[in-house]
């Protein structure tokens, strides 16, 4: 472990897909993940995914995850779980804690596929136990099978808020209301329709004012907003809830890229500040690559494609693929990504990605 050709940080869909592409053509690859289980977010996504047949549409996230793990095993890549990467240093050195030991691993190429962190909303009472992030709730309910509460207020109508609401209903909780500050539902209408017909009120132009309770969440006050986003006085309503779930967006988890000295830029549709990368997923530092949510908040299917792209480019740069072979493979990946970044929901992300790549060329 003191020297590898490719060190991948993060065993989510992006990191695993990169490992498959690189290791299957011979790159000596190791994947580090701080979790006990590989798969990143996929194992808590028990719903059926969109996409086309080429993206395994219709399969559940958890099954897409199992499939990736099977391919990793066949590719020869090694996965080291329960292993935190705590630093990256000059000369492509990766600081790793594994089995309670601190190890420095030198890598010819590094791929950062660390995913995202959840945005939080601060409001009076937000530190009470029972106020939780959507990702945490999804992990509790779908992975550990623990219901965090019986009556939930959901904040945010993006796909995450809509899907986690649905999964809470499946687990037997009641979603008392879903509030959204914008004047429209942010996520896909089909996801909204599922919870709506099951009886969940969706309140646009509403937000949370405060949470109250003795040592834990017992009530939440919600208010209506006007078209400028200001509170309309007198519209307060108090709901009896024991969980308040925040689904207010994600931000790229990019500390390691900061530490390494990657150049950053701000692209709002991709989640804010993130490292620039070129069309090979390479950052401003030669030999350092990114893929998945760290390179822009999108979804698991795009993370898989970006991971593949990075894996192919890395294999090419190490001489395991000829330029001709790599070009063909990259083209296939780019075609599939383009299909995903299309339509009214996808086109903004496609344009933002193009901006990001353009900015990587500026000096």
């Amino acid at each position: 472990m003191n020297h590898v050709e490719l060190a991948i940080i993060g065993a989510g869909p992006a990191g695993l897909s990169a490992a498959i592409e690189a290791a299957s053509v011979g790159v000596q690859t190791i994947v580090f993940d701080e979790n006990q289980q590989a798969g990143g977010q996929l194992f808590k996504q028990i719903h059926k995914f969109f996409g086309s047949r080429a993206h395994q549409a219709g399969a559940r996230g958890i099954d897409i995850g199992k499939n990736l793990l099977g391919q990793v095993a066949a590719s020869g890549a090694e996965i080291k779980l329960d292993t935190v990467v705590w630093g990256i240093f000059e000369g492509n050195k990766v600081g790793v804690v594994t089995n309670g030991r601190n190890v420095i691993c030198k890598a010819d190429r590094i791929l950062l596929a660390t995913g995202a962190s959840e945005n939080v909303l601060a409001f009076p009472g937000w530190t009470l136990p029972g106020v939780m992030g959507a990702g945490a709730i999804q992990t509790m309910v779908n992975v550990h099978r623990v219901l965090p509460g019986k009556r939930v207020l959901m904040i945010g109508s993006g796909n995450v808020g809509l899907i986690v609401s649905y999964q809470l209903l499946q687990a037997g909780a009641e979603v008392v209301a879903l509030v959204e500050a914008m004047d429209r539902i942010g996520g896909y209408a089909v996801h909204a329709s599922k919870i709506k017909r099951a009886g969940t009120p969706i309140l646009i132009r509403h937000t949370i004012k405060e949470a109250v309770g003795n040592g834990k969440v017992e009530q939440a006050t919600i208010v209506q907003l006007n078209d400028n986003g200001n509170v309309i006085e007198g519209t307060e309503r108090t709901l009896d809830v024991d969980v308040i779930c925040m689904a207010c967006g994600l931000s790229p988890l990019a500390e390691l890229a900061w530490l390494a000295g990657c150049r950053f830029t701000d692209v709002a549709p991709l989640g804010g500040l993130l490292p620039v990368h070129d069309d090979n997923m390479q950052t401003s530092l030669p030999g350092m690559y990114v893929a998945g949510d760290i390179a822009g908040i999108e979804e698991a299917s795009t993370a898989i494609e970006e991971g593949r792209l990075a894996g192919i480019a890395i294999a090419e740069s190490l001489g395991y693929l000829t330029t001709t072979d790599a070009t063909v493979k990259k083209q296939a990946v780019n075609d599939r990504s383009e299909q995903l970044r299309d339509g009214p929901f996808g086109i903004t992300r496609r344009e933002a990605k193009e901006t990001l790549i353009r900015r990587s060329l500026e000096t």
Partner: protein, 169 residues
């Protein structure tokens, strides 16, 4: 009421969908109703139908287009749709009743013969529904497909059920 503000369709929005069979067609026999209105990257419905009744075409963001003359109302496409927006409606079930087939992912499943609440797209209870069939073969991958009978006037309203006494759909 509009889709992006309330999470369900107005009648006008419904009528404009390329996956909506005509009133006349619905009265001829069972037919799929495709309530898919946004250009999202998705296409499993197209491959799920072996009769070729659903077409997406070259770009996966196209809305699914229905050829009602090819649809026999078998319901095999329902569980394949990750958006859970395919339904089969049969207006010819009896003189007074029609049937609705819909996807269902809540446990416990209702039993054949149960009388349950019929819920509309907005989650309101609109009528009683009788459970005629509950299918969940392995191929449906944990999405059950349930058939209920409801008074005819509610067959284009009811889109899910609630077991009496339960709080969710």
């Amino acid at each position: 009421m509009t889709l992006i503000k309330d999470g369900y369709f107005s009648q006008t929005e419904l009528a404009q969908l390329p996956g909506m069979p005509s009133r006349e067609r619905l009265h001829e026999g069972p037919c799929v109703v495709i309530e898919c209105a946004q250009q999202i990257p998705c296409d499993p419905c197209e491959a799920a139908c072996h009769e070729g009744a659903i077409e997406i075409g070259d770009s996966i963001i196209n809305l699914p287009k229905l050829d009602p003359s090819k649809c026999g109302g078998c319901g095999l496409c329902i569980a394949a749709c990750p958006g859970q927006c395919l339904f089969v409606v049969d207006m010819t079930y009896s003189d007074t009743e029609g049937t609705v087939q819909f996807p269902y992912e809540f446990l416990p499943y209702p039993q054949k013969g149960d009388t349950v609440h019929g819920l509309n797209r907005g989650g309101d209870i609109v009528c009683d529904a009788e459970v005629l069939k509950v299918l969940h073969p392995k191929k449906f991958d944990h999405t059950a497909v349930i058939t209920v009978s409801v008074p005819k006037e509610y067959a284009m309203e009811v889109r899910t059920i609630k077991i009496k006494g339960n709080h969710h759909g």
